[in-house]
Subunit: 212 residues, 4 copies
Amino acid sequence: MKKILMAGFEPFGQDKINPALEAVKILDGKQLNGGFIICCEVPVVRYKAVDVVMEAVKKHQPDIVISIGQAAGRAEITPERIAINIDDYRIPDNEGNQVIDEAIFDNGPAAYFSTLPIKAMVESLQLKNIPAQVSNTAGSFVCNHLFYGLQHRLVGTNIPHGFVHIPLLPEQVKDSNQPSMPLMMIVEGLAILAQAALENKQDKVIGGGTIC
Amino acid sequence: MKKILMAGFEPFGQDKINPALEAVKILDGKQLNGGFIICCEVPVVRYKAVDVVMEAVKKHQPDIVISIGQAAGRAEITPERIAINIDDYRIPDNEGNQVIDEAIFDNGPAAYFSTLPIKAMVESLQLKNIPAQVSNTAGSFVCNHLFYGLQHRLVGTNIPHGFVHIPLLPEQVKDSNQPSMPLMMIVEGLAILAQAALENKQDKVIGGGTIC
Amino acid sequence: MKKILMAGFEPFGQDKINPALEAVKILDGKQLNGGFIICCEVPVVRYKAVDVVMEAVKKHQPDIVISIGQAAGRAEITPERIAINIDDYRIPDNEGNQVIDEAIFDNGPAAYFSTLPIKAMVESLQLKNIPAQVSNTAGSFVCNHLFYGLQHRLVGTNIPHGFVHIPLLPEQVKDSNQPSMPLMMIVEGLAILAQAALENKQDKVIGGGTIC
Amino acid sequence: MKKILMAGFEPFGQDKINPALEAVKILDGKQLNGGFIICCEVPVVRYKAVDVVMEAVKKHQPDIVISIGQAAGRAEITPERIAINIDDYRIPDNEGNQVIDEAIFDNGPAAYFSTLPIKAMVESLQLKNIPAQVSNTAGSFVCNHLFYGLQHRLVGTNIPHGFVHIPLLPEQVKDSNQPSMPLMMIVEGLAILAQAALENKQDKVIGGGTIC
């Protein structure tokens, strides 16, 4: 039985709830075909976010790590392709840090690609009629920070890791005409993509590019 | 026990499926508090759409009629405020009619307001965390045509009627970054707003305007 | 020489500027082929807006009246098709009135169609590469109020009137990824559509519908 | 007098025109304060695009290189922050190449940051009321390919380079409700950002991040 550590962010900014945390809590202990999910709550605080997940990695010795965050304005579950070595925060994180154009790790490369099979994950979601698409930017806030930080810390471990953005919940958008996705559909989607991560050590060669 | 006739459109244009029809089929016979739903399939053909629903009205003698259509690009269930006396079809209907700026009924008024409690319907949806908003335009295709045509034919009957647009299904948008809503959430939403229609003979005074 | 009265709204809400007013001020006295433009500043206040334009109508005796307002979120110049008999204000007007679902004129019809040649106006703009499209909703705030109020007051006068929404200015959107249009393009566009209004007593039969 | 080489893409896909090429042609020879612009036409073909600009670099010995491409759907001039080492083409390039998830240079790093002062460029545009914003993704088509390829080839030269996406022209969007920007505003914007590149060897520390 393989272990998948699924790390979900707590609420931040104006929001009282974060679908990432709600979803991973529900998935804690979930049995997959050949593995199961362990959940981890992540603070929206630079560096501390990375430390908290790395402690969970040491404790649980997972085979795969998947980090989850919310993405206002997106209608689909979007596995991220790349993490970039920059912190440029439009709003403060949950401990008040608001930095501009600082490297996350001074000695780190400009970027890391996801080591999850993102095309296979998107394909498996679409086959179940759950909207999904590859994203080429995780932004420049704590989501990207955690994505980059974990890729950096996990170098040399052979543990695949990547970041997945999910839409807001219906209750977060109500009358604003922003897209949303019900919690149970997000939960089902995360289980499906975790299964795809278990089954695809190599990603599939499927088109998923964007013009710009 | 009151009867609510719920009329859902068949597929049109490029689509093989229409969430309106799928949802009303599931809701056929559904028990509400003080009433039940009868479903009716509507062709996407001018005038014929109105005739088909009016035949169902004669047959079933409903207390309330709610027409349902899909709205690509919308993230929310949107009860329509007003039907306008114009056919201006960007694409042909399902019998090839493509007309420009023709009145639906030459002797009809410029518009009819919905006679459903649209604000109460939106409120009841939002309370259950289903994205909803009043819409001020049902477009100028067969959805608006049916809405206007039924308001016109039902004048003098005391049967409240209105039109509700629903989002596309996840399987209709897959990788296009358009908003969607799962079928079961649409079904639940339509049952909730039908219940609100049963319970509110007068609409509630709740803000739901748009600047433009 | 025919007279075109062009009425532009003052700023409202959070905005310090309104492109509608800026544009009509520049167009005041503008010579067209067979006519010229007279500008009129309109307060964003229910009923008062209508009264101010009707006073200008009495004073100038125009042949055509065109009202102009800003539309946040729109990328194109959008002649409106229809005005509806409802005030439903999401924000207060400039004298603090914030009403919900009140008729503008209790004895008025549900709606009035624009009496301007909206399809010919859109065509003439597109031929000059200025983004344009017919809109089927002027919202439910003071823009729609003025549109409806003037159609109602001008009944029986044979003076064509309609409402045109224009995009925000670049300086109003700066870093928000909302669409905008430069002031000089708006000014050119309004002169082009005024010319089209002069030249087309009957509108052209050109498709310009929307599905929903 | 410093030389700024400005490289603009030819049309591709369904388009007969590319605002990038139109704008740089107009800017060819343009005098700035302390420099002037040399224009270069770039084929939308992988590797060949990079080769063509590198030949122009050898010929003209510029002090700064700025590459320009169109971005459908964007309302603003968007200097790109980062180029990524991947080709994932949703459509074929102009010689029919359509590759999936291939590295651009096998021995290259995952990404290069722009070496232009992107925050100073955005600030100088916004001060002139031209919509502008930093972008965190140049996509995965030939725009990103050229951006990455030139950063890779220019390593060790001390020539700053970066990529700037510009909106479509009004004539490309006409009735589609997509954002656009007039050619003369794009031309003015590119001259302004070229001037900012001349004047800011170090970028300014100004917030310009995105949440996701």
